[in-house]
Amino acid sequence: MAKRKSSPNQGEMLQGTLDLLILRTLALGPAHGHTVAYAIERQSEDVLQVEHGSLYPALHRLEDRGWIASFWGTSENNRRARYYRLTRAGRQQLTEQTNRWEAMVRAINRILKPA
């Protein structure tokens, strides 16, 4: 409910891709917000710069939809941190969104690079 238009600065990322990236990151195992932010940056070889703050509303939204679940745990350097893990529904969502993304990329590529 309540989809107020919010303006988290999502950098140059396309609308909705942040959700996909978070789900993908969490598919590797439970992680807290800090780890997720760095993981996305690192794996994109610093191409995708996430403003770390914008991650939290996204995490909240995903949890609200039941795609991820959270629990408090202890971080590698002994700090309390909220961990997120993928739920069964989230895993399904990840597959669907990945497929959709790939389809879209193929379509755009066909337009940009007509063979």
Binding site: A2, R4, S54
Partner: protein, 897 residues
């Protein structure tokens, strides 16, 4: 999901704050590890995260259900507005509280009397077993509040039926708690052994009866008492169990207490003490258990699993022929016997219990509910008018809101929030008011002789009813003004000055329409009120044929005095003589029946050897009865000392009697016989006197033929009960104590109960008084509300048209012209309302016709009276604003623009 988060959104906010803090801590650690100074490391971490407040707000909004959040804001805004205008708020809340309170109170009564099921186990399985309708008349004696079956019939049903898992039979009676002096009665129940188990009533303390308690000829049965009686008489003391309870001079050990909510099966009444039916011979001077023509029992059955009402009725019908054959009263004459043998038993729904109160008051209560609903509608019309005025005043504010982008729905919601707040507070006040009002009504219905008991606790139905009222009223007075207020194009609203020279005709049209509706509805209510008040007046002033004021009735119970049957006549005569000899007593006489008390004795008579069809009412009275009651003797003689058990039987008859049976000729010297049962002697009565007609059963009836027999000729009175009427000018307390002293001196075990004739008459007019009082009250309220409405609209109209009036006056209209103009406008509204209301009143009158007396629903004089009264107040209500308009200074009025 979101709803749950909505209620925990504060917690979630803190949770997210903690999470963000944890991010900063981790990032700071890593920055330090990369070689930054701690202070710098933390700042860098904060920068990396971004604006913390923005993030939290973002998440907070996700958790918010926008509608609820806005609603809450609207309610707070509305509350602020109401605080700014307390006069409006008070008027609105008060009128709503009155309206809702009256409705809720009447509904509470209806709910208790009509709708609610008995507080027993699965009440819907209960059915009442009685003779199938139409019964067409039964012969015999009838006692108690539900005289449906005789004891022999009960035994037969019990032994032959297969439809029910249990039978509950009962008789309402009273048990005297004292052994001498002024009587004190407990409300009693005589019940069969299975009564409590069939109903599924478990004891609160001790035990309830079982089949083994109710064995014919029981010598020392126990008593089960109600929770209320236990509290009242024993202070709820557990040691009351096992203690002896004295009833009718005998003692019965208390064996148990019923739960607080159980009041029996008779809605409108409760009980104090229950005894098993086998105790009946112990508490009654003559047992009725073996009499096949004494109807005194009500009977419920609990349907066996799988049985329906129809199947039970079919089964009862099938076993009926054997049952009636086995119980045919031997005293019945051939005609009665033939009728009796055709009786069929049937089952009727009984989940809501049985109730005389329901029979007498259900339709008056529905009528009153309709009345209160109209009052509420009138109150809502007033509020709608006020809201319209407020909306007009806020026109510019609303225009601004709309202009800067508020949606129309959003603004309507905001305006409705104010109405909802008002109606909710009003309804809450109404519930408080209803509590008092319904208590007052129950008090109104309670008389000396019948204590009304109703469980008025608020159940879900009452709650739902009140909540529905609140919402309905809110929509009724709030919705249209809100829609109207937002209908104007913002531009136009902004452009029009702070006060236009005229107002849009359309908006005034609505306000005028509201006034017309108010006048129409209040005319209906005022007509109704006048009809009921005049009916009551007709009943009070009619010639009842007997005197009411100064007449006192003394009921004597002598069965503790153990007087031999054959001595009763002499003792009775002696007691009446003692009363008559008292200095304060002007006249006194014995009477078997007191007029309009509800008791009666009727039979057919034989004149010239022919059985006449018309029923005759009987009474047996002593010497001096007519003088005591102020009934004029028209011809012949009163009873006197010549009329003894040994002398020839004599009777005095009324004018109606003479008219019906002797064609209006002088009846003196004529004779008749009473059509008694088989084997009963039928003496010939010689008519010696003619008296004026008098009411017998109630004041509403036409005069009936009455034959009065001489009590002094009744050698052996059946029961040790004596009723004396006496006339006295002395104060009531003086005379009752004198009479009590004189009678207990003669016999200390005499139990006496007093009642004034005025009270008897008053109680017989209870329903009429209730309708007159309440409809009068509501009619008055409706009139006042409509007057306020008219006044408000006319004042507002004058206010809005100051300019126009100023111009008219500047152009030469004088004050009379202005007054005339305003009065004509008001007159048109009132007249329109009267036409609609008059038609509606005549139409609605049909519903009330059975409750009226001495006038028809469309009674023209009543209608005219109501119209005149309303017109008079309406005239005053509109004259004030008209006069104020005529006092306007034209120059000032024009300058105000």
């Amino acid at each position: 999901m979101s709803i749950r988060r909505f209620f925990h959104r504060r917690w979630w906010d803190e949770e997210r704050a903690r999470e963000l803090e944890s991010y900063v801590a981790i990032e700071t650690d890593e920055n330090v590890a990369r070689g930054m100074a701690p202070r710098e490391a933390r700042l860098a971490a904060e920068r990396r995260l971004g604006n913390r407040t923005l993030i939290r707000e973002d998440i907070y909004h996700m958790n918010t259900v926008a509608f609820l959040d806005n609603a809450w804001r609207d309610v707070r805004y509305a509350a602020r507005l109401l605080r700014l205008n307390p006069a409006f708020a008070v008027v609105a809340i008060l009128s709503l509280a009155l309206g809702v309170g009256a409705n809720t109170a009447i509904f509470q009564l209806l709910n208790a009397v009509r709708i609610r099921t008995l507080p027993v186990k699965t009440p819907n399985e209960l059915v009442e077993v009685r003779l199938a309708e139409p019964v067409g008349g039964r012969t015999g004696r009838f006692m108690g509040r539900r005289p449906m079956l005789t004891y022999p019939l009960l035994e037969q049903v019990r032994d032959r039926q297969q439809a029910f898992s249990g039978l509950a039979a009962w008789n309402n009676t009273t048990f005297n708690l004292t052994t001498g002096g002024e009587a004190r009665y407990a409300l009693g129940l005589l019940v069969n052994g299975d009564f409590f188990t069939t109903l599924g009533v478990h004891p609160f303390a001790g035990r309830v009866f079982t089949a083994s308690d109710d064995v014919r000829g029981c010598a020392a049965p126990g008593a089960v008492i109600s929770y209320g009686f236990w509290q009242r008489e024993f202070g709820g003391d557990g040691s009351a169990l096992g203690r002896p309870l004295r009833l009718e001079g005998r003692s019965f050990p208390i064996v148990g207490v019923t739960p607080p909510e159980f009041f029996g099966v008779d809605v409108g009444r409760t009980f104090d003490v229950a005894l098993p039916l086998c105790a009946e011979p112990l508490v009654k001077p003559n047992s009725d258990l073996d009499k096949p023509d004494v109807w005194f029992l009500g009977l419920f059955g609990r349907l066996n699993p799988g049985w329906t009402l129809e199947r039970a009725t079919a089964h009862l019908e099938a076993i009926s022929p054997n049952i009636v054959r086995a119980t045919l009263p031997p005293r019945y004459r051939a005609e009665d016997a033939q009728h009796y043998l055709q009786f069929k038993l049937a089952a009727y729904p009984a989940g809501t219990g049985v109730s005389n109160l329901r029979r007498d008051y259900e339709s008056p209560l529905w009528l009153l509910l309709a009345t209160t609903a109209l009052v509420l509608i009138i109150a809502c019309a007033n509020l709608a008018n006020l809201m319209l005025a407020r909306a007009t005043a806020r026109e510019r504010e609303i225009a601004v809101r709309l202009a800067i982008g508020a949606s129309r729905g959003r603004v309507i919601r905001q305006l409705l929030a104010e109405s909802l707040l008002l109606s909710t507070i009003g309804a809450a006040g109404g519930v408080l008011l209803a509590g008092w009002l319904s208590q007052f009504l129950v008090g109104f219905l309670t008389t000396e002789n019948s204590r009304v008991f109703l469980d008025l606790s608020t159940d879900w139905r009452v709650f739902a009813f009140t909540a529905a009222l609140a919402v309905a009223t809110c929509l009724l007075f709030g919705l249209t003004p809100a829609i109207r207020a937002t209908a104007a194009a913002p531009g136009a609203a902004m452009k029009s000055g702070s006060r236009g020279s005229t107002d849009s005709r359309e908006r005034f049209g609505l306000r005028r329409g509201l006034v017309v509706v108010q006048v129409a509805l209040s005319l209906v209510l005022v007509v109704g009120a006048l009809l009921f008040v005049r009916s009551l007046r007709n009943l009070v002033i009619l010639d009842s044929g007997f005197r009411q004021t100064g007449v006192l009735i003394a009921n004597l119970d002598l069965h503790g005095a153990s007087i031999a049957r054959e001595n009763r006549r002499a003792v009775f005569n002696d007691l009446v003589a003692r009363v008559r000899a008292l200095p304060g007593v002007d006249a006194a006489a014995e009477t078997f029946i007191v007029p309009v008390s509800g008791s009666g004795w009727n039979n057919r008579i034989v004149v010239n050897g022919e059985v006449r069809k018309e029923n005759v009412n009987f009474n047996a009275v002593g010497i001096g009865y007519f003088r005591t009651m102020g009934t004029a003797l028209l011809a012949g003689r009163d009873f006197d000392d010549r009329d003894t058990p040994a002398s020839g039987k004599v009777a005095i008859v009324t004018e109606q009697f003479a008219k019906k049976f002797f064609g209006g000729e002088n009846p003196i010297g004529r004779t008749f016989q009473i059509q008694e049962g088989v084997g009963v002697e039928r003496p010939v009565y010689n008519i010696v006197g003619l008296v004026k007609d008098a009411k017998y059963t109630n004041l509403r009836e036409e005069f009936t033929p009455i034959a009065l027999l001489a009590a002094s000729q009744d050698a052996v009175p059946d029961d040790p009960y004596l009723q004396i009427v006496l006339r006295s000018g002395a104060p009531l307390t003086t005379i009752t104590s004198e009479v009590t002293a004189a009678l207990t001196e003669a016999n200390p075990a005499t139990i006496i109960q007093f009642q004034t004739m005025n009270a008897v008459v008053r109680d017989s007019l209870l329903r009429e008084r209730l309708m007159a009082t309440l409809s009068g009250l509501f009619g008055l309220l409706a009139g006042v509300l409509a007057t306020i409405g008219l006044y408000g609209v006319m004042s507002y109209m004058v206010e809005r048209r100051k300019n126009e009036i100023g111009i008219r006056m500047a152009l030469g209209a004088d004050r009379g012209d202005v007054v005339g103009m305003i009065m004509r406008e008001a007159g048109a509204l009132v007249a329109a309302g009267m036409v609609v209301g008059g038609l509606a009143a005549v139409g609605a009158g049909r519903w009330a016709s059975t409750l009226l007396f001495g006038l028809r629903p469309g009674d023209p004089s009543t209608l005219m009276l109501a119209i005149a009264a309303l017109a008079a107040v309406a005239g005053v209500a509109s004259y004030v604003p008209a006069w104020r308009a005529s006092r306007l200074e034209p120059t000032e009025a024009l300058r105000e623009e």
